[in-house]
Symmetry: C2
Subunit: 310 residues, 2 copies
């Protein structure tokens, strides 16, 4: 067909089509090329043949392509529409950019829900019933509550140390909290980078090296600040005589190690999840916090045993 014939055909048939701006050139339903209305309108000669101006280097998706992957193609190449073909390269339909927009919003919501420790839901918040909210939220809450048995066991087995140095207990929430926050910072960053395709599993050594250096920097600054704060506020201002310089040192050393460990765990777990075909978002804060909680307590008590001889 020529450009003029094509425009005439679009003018006759375009009424009930979802998009007319991208036209697909097919032969026996097999996809041969793409031509846009812009190409047609801007063609210098109405007698030009479509086969001379069509793009044959086509990006298409198959009926089995994951919707997330399709959305990525739109975000990357700014297409208006993508052709969908079957296994024999026969054209079976199209996806348009507004479908992609919907998918991107859906997938992001799903990622956020997983990262918040919930099962993804199909409905919007206000439309979800109490029962649906409950069903999405209880599994992770239950799992994490039960897994806290380990942190409980760690504390119980160091009961004597805590009894000998009562001041140690007061710093448990700070240690676990800072560890949890450090870990979720890394995991959120890595999960987002993975879902935007900015990161692949092969980047693991780079990620590790980056996180180790960042976490040591964060850990040292936090530990120095913590050391000063404990001495100035808890010891001098509040007059807690149980806090010795050595107790202060134990807390801050444990803090340093916890921050580094948390950032490594937080960055590595989502990448491992990706490799074993799990959604990296499952590995987000709640899960990592539980691991980091146990780690930070172990480190804390080991330092206490070593340095305070309790």
């Amino acid at each position: 067909m020529t450009v003029e014939e094509s425009i005439l055909r679009i003018r006759r048939q375009g009424f009930d089509k979802e998009t007319i701006y991208t036209c697909y050139v097919t032969k026996d339903r097999k996809l041969l090329g793409i031509v846009t209305v812009k190409d047609l309108l801007l063609a210098e000669d109405d007698e030009t043949l479509i086969e001379d101006i069509m793009l044959t280097n086509i990006i298409s998706v198959t009926t089995h392509t994951d919707q997330e992957e399709v959305a990525h193609l739109f975000a990357k190449y700014n297409f208006l529409a993508l052709p969908v073909v079957d296994k024999e390269n026969r054209m079976v339909g199209i996806v348009t950019f507004d479908d992609a927009l919907d998918v991107i919003e859906e997938e992001t919501t799903e990622d956020m829900e997983l990262m918040g420790g919930m099962l993804p839901s199909e409905k919007t918040y206000l439309k979800s019933s109490i029962w649906e909210l409950f069903k999405n939220r209880i599994p992770w809450l239950m799992l994490l509550m039960l897994s806290a048995t380990f942190t409980g066991m760690i504390i119980t087995s160091f009961e004597d140390a805590l009894a000998a140095q009562v001041a140690l207990t007061a710093f448990i929430p700070m240690l676990m909290g800072t560890g949890g926050n450090s870990g979720s910072q890394s995991s959120v960053t890595v999960i987002r980078a993975l879902s935007l395709d900015e990161l692949k599993f092969a980047d693991l050594p780079k990620v590790l090296w980056k996180e180790i250096r960042t976490s040591v920097l964060c850990g040292i600054v936090l530990s120095i600040a913590c050391f000063a704060k404990i001495w100035l506020v808890d010891r001098m201002l509040m007059g807690n005589e149980e806090i010795t310089l050595l107790v202060d040192a134990v807390v801050c050393l444990a803090l340093l190690v916890t921050v580094v460990a948390a950032k490594i765990v937080g960055a590595v777990l989502p990448m491992v999840a990706k490799v074993v075909k799990l959604d990296p978002a499952v590995m987000a804060s709640p899960f990592i916090t539980t691991i980091v909680d146990a780690l930070s307590l172990l480190v804390y008590f080991l330092f206490a045993k070593m340095l305070l001889k309790v």
Copy 2:
């Protein structure tokens, strides 16, 4: 102009334009109407005047519209392009759907970074230097570490109770962890719904009522499971004789109250943030966890004082 004249003009001038599919009808640079290439091509008569087929009910944005709002308009109405006008309704430019896609991805990444307790960054993860990562991560870590002084003070002031009932200490991580997870579930849900415009501040009573019922349901189920687990595992299996039925009850009552309080705080704070023009995502997990940590400890020790007379 007629349809035919318009098509000719597009064919002459369209080469260097970002989009030719949406055309803007202006007079003295003021925006009067919109006509799409689809409308032009499908017009039945080439002599039809543009003013007869153009849409005059135009959705436009101004030079001062927030980019997030622009992206929402694209997501809602599936436009290919939106006209940008100045205060006098003079057309000054256009935004196209691929700009909107980029903005949506950017804003989502920013939300996630804030929710993970980081300052939003301009660069992708692999391109960020150690120093930039450090600068984005340390402020919240520092703030949350210092605010943990309160949880420390609460524990210190109940030191005698903990010394009298050593078994109580072992459940602190479980209580704080479950509280934190409950709170972040609600906050993530509400923050996402706010950013998708599914929720307004006026919905606060509805949200409160939903969260109260969901959290009571979650709290009761968790408390019963926790009661059984403590008795069967910690007392019977591990043989911890310090755990009495009353200690078990104190833990589970505190758990129930903590879950309900955490879900209410988690849902309300992001909505309040929205009203005072803060980004709701700032109110996410790390911030809420710190509040919930303090709350859960207070509730725990008060129940312990009341029921165990320590």
